[in-house]
Each structure stands twice: as C-alpha cells, then as structure tokens.
Symmetry: C2
Subunit: 110 residues, 2 copies
Amino acid sequence: MKKNQKEIKASDENCPVRRALGLLGGKWTLLILFQINDRVMRYGELKRAIPGISEKVLIQELNSLVENKLVSKKSYHEIPPRVEYRLTKMGLKTLPIADELASFGLENSV
Amino acid sequence: MKKNQKEIKASDENCPVRRALGLLGGKWTLLILFQINDRVMRYGELKRAIPGISEKVLIQELNSLVENKLVSKKSYHEIPPRVEYRLTKMGLKTLPIADELASFGLENSV
C-alpha cells in the first residue's frame, strides 16, 4: 500500500457509512430532515417546502422517519386535526450531513 | 415565525442540498466515493470493497461518476488491461459528506 494512504475497511454491513446510508439514503429522506431542521413543521408546510414530492411518498417517508426515531409526531385532537413534526435528538444529528451536502451543492454548482 | 427559527427556503431545484442529492443520492454513489477516497483503486478492488454491489451496477455507477467529473479513469494499454480510478478535485470534496455519515453511523448504532 502506498505511503500515507488511508486504511479503509470494506463497506460490509458493519460499515458506518453504509449503515447511515441504509437509514438516510432514500431519495427524499435527507431533504425532509433538512426542511424540518430545528423547526416544528406541519404536513402541509412540508409538502410546500419540497416541490415535486407526492402526498403518498411524503406520508410514507414521514411514517418511516417516525418509526426510525429520527422525527417525532404530535397530534392535537382539534377540528380540523393538527399534526406537528419535529426532529428528535437523533434526527438533529443528521443536520451536519445536510450542511455538508449544502456546501458541496453551493461550491460545485452541480 | 417563532424566535430564533432558521429561515429555510423551499427545496426547489435551486436548493443546494437537493442539487447535491441529485448528483450523489444514488444507492451506492457515496459509498463508492468513500471507498476510492484518497486512493487509486481498480475495478476488482472496488468490487471486493463493496460487498453486495453487482458488476453491472458498479460499472454503471463508475461511468456516471466519471461523466459527472467526480472520478477520473486511467486506462493502461497492457495485457491484461489495467484501469485505475481516483477521485477528482470535485470528487474529493464529497469526502466530508461521507465523514459526517460515518460519524452518524458510529454514534447512533443504526
């Protein structure tokens, strides 16, 4: 191995990058996490904040984010019903990934 | 808007996070970039470094990474033929994203 080359293990199922991508790698996942960010968002606000995402996909993604404990969901028993989403502590830990994606996107006019 | 909430624009096609995900969001893309890293890798080495990726998908991904100028490909006219892949300058700028994914993956035992 050439001098000063990093020793990188194979990306098998124990690889942290692979595991993180397994959780966050969906087409819309990191974008939804980025949009919720440090805010409290309702379904309608999220739908408007991510042009092009379908109702069905957004609902599926939100349900799996809640199931994976990245997002918490609070329902208010009012008329009309009100549902709020916010990032959990673990969800907030994905924001540095979104920040790096943003810097790359800005810097490289991709 | 509540005090000290970030002002986040809608993630339309100008959103840098969305643009970066458009380029890097494939299932294997960031994993391939992470494995090449600061190294020079051959196809066979990459195939072994990413268990589960098929020959066809790895070749497709590498071709699109070269086309998108994230990876450079060097062919040596020898017998047997030798082809080497390394990250371009822009490709190297994706590594902080992989590093954040690794930290998240390690920290959150996902």
